[in-house]
Symmetry: C2
Subunit: 250 residues, 2 copies
DNA sequence: GGGTAAAGGTCTGAGTTCATACCAATTCGC
DNA sequence: GCGAATTGGTATGAACTCAGACCTTTACCC
């Protein structure tokens, strides 16, 4: 029912509570730090690789170079990157991927816990959707090679920390195969949160083999264009992780 | 394969092109205008309803009151709202919902066209996912009433412009039923883009009846907790709209 | 070796955004 | 009617962000 004109203040739509969210995260500076740190921690830029130049990055992130430089300084100070000047110089990643269980669970606020649970719910929709779309898409040789490479990386990784990064890259690669910017953004956000959870919650990745089998099934389904199967496998994959994490979050 | 340390500049990960996106949209001011305008146009605040006070809105949107007020001034100037001072005053919506076909297609840039197509792809994943989640959730009486009301609104709406707003509210309501912030945000974004498309592309909503039957099926499936059916119906619903729009976009 | 190109480092002035007061108008409750 | 509460309107100074120009360092090329 439409509220009558002039009705009381804030006609009781529950929708409005859900829809009106922060228009913009923090400052540009913090947004840059977060995004770059996430990109590095997720292994998009692995140890030893060189980030794009400051000028290019500032253009990509749509912030001024000054602001980007402040963000870089923060990353440098935090020990994620190192910078060399001059031609051929640039900023290289020095962060060794951390072992998931290495850090004790920081104080988890109730807000954070809610956000994490939310993230698991959203992931269960978005990632299977990405898998389904990727399976539907007609993939050229380059794309298939990219998928295989990402899969081999994760299958080959031995140490937990490296496995974690390769896993993120694998999931992001699938999202990228869909060709949808929004999909990539959604999966990036979800993976970043997932990564945060895995760092904060000491959980033994006991079932890496299990996970790898699912990855292999996923790649097969995508290559065959079997989108229902791709979605189903990814759903199971998400459910397995989520069950583990939810158990530890209460 | 992990790139060797010190390898050339920007080791050729295609992922990075997809992942590094603008860290922050334009200015806070513009973000507010866009979000509020979208909220109003989508009918979350219908004609005649009163927006929350400036102080509350600025807190919700996480911007200063000054900035919010500039956004409000823009909305006022654009004729979307009117403002009265004093206790019991506030800002009321004066925008009559526009008839979709009323405006000629503005010059559609290639970038915008791509974004629109992207949005349709993402919607096809997100909204069926929301429907599925909503069907899984245990809904209390209030939630069910909210769903029914949104459905009745859209079924009752006669004029195209009102139907459009009610339709947006219906879809947003389903998203809200999932209880997931990210889901609401995703559906809001997708619906805003959809709304923009429908305004720019003169398309006769010839099949309102067809659409309404799908809505009814959707509500039934959600109430019964039949999540597979809910997802399937929503997928069909999205596909129908998308086919129409894609045809007109080339 | 010298020139050029490419990268980070520095500076500056204008524009935005913010937090925090305080003012003005209007309504509600007694 | 009158005071208190609520709402929009105004003002100010600090902090942040931006765009652009210019400097310094370093590697590559001839």
């Amino acid at each position: 029912m439409l509220p009558s004109p002039g009705a009381g203040p804030t006609t009781g739509h529950d929708l409005t509570e859900a829809v009106l969210r922060p228009a913009r995260g923090y400052h540009a500076f913090e947004a840059c730090v977060e995004q770059l740190a996430a990109t590095i921690r997720l292994g998009v830029y692995p140890l030893g690789s060189t980030l794009p130049s400051e000028r290019e990055l500032s253009e990509r992130l749509k912030v001024s170079r000054s602001t980007l430089r402040e963000a870089m300084a923060a990353l440098r100070e935090a020990g994620l990157v190192e910078t060399r000047r001059g031609r051929g110089g640039g900023t290289v990643v020095t962060l060794k991927p951390r072992t998931p269980s290495a850090r004790a669970a920081a104080r988890i606020t109730e807000g954070k816990r809610q956000d994490w649970l939310d993230s698991l719910v959203f992931r269960r929709i978005v990632e299977p959707g990405a898998a389904s779309l990727a399976a539907r898409a007609t993939l050229d040789e380059g794309a298939l090679a990219q998928l295989d490479e990402a899969h081999e990386d994760v299958a080959r990784a031995r140490r937990p920390a490296e496995h974690r990064q390769a896993d993120s890259r694998f999931h992001l690669t699938i999202a990228a195969l869909t060709g949808s910017h929004r999909m990539v953004e959604a999966v990036t956000s979800v993976q970043a949160t997932l990564h945060e959870m895995l760092l904060a919650i000491p959980v033994l990745e006991a079932n890496i083999h299990h996970s790898d089998r699912q990855h292999a099934s996923l790649v097969r389904a995508i290559r065959r264009g079997n989108h229902d199967r791709a979605r189903a496998v990814m759903e199971e994959h998400c459910d397995d992780t989520a069950a583990l994490l939810r158990g530890l979050l209460g």
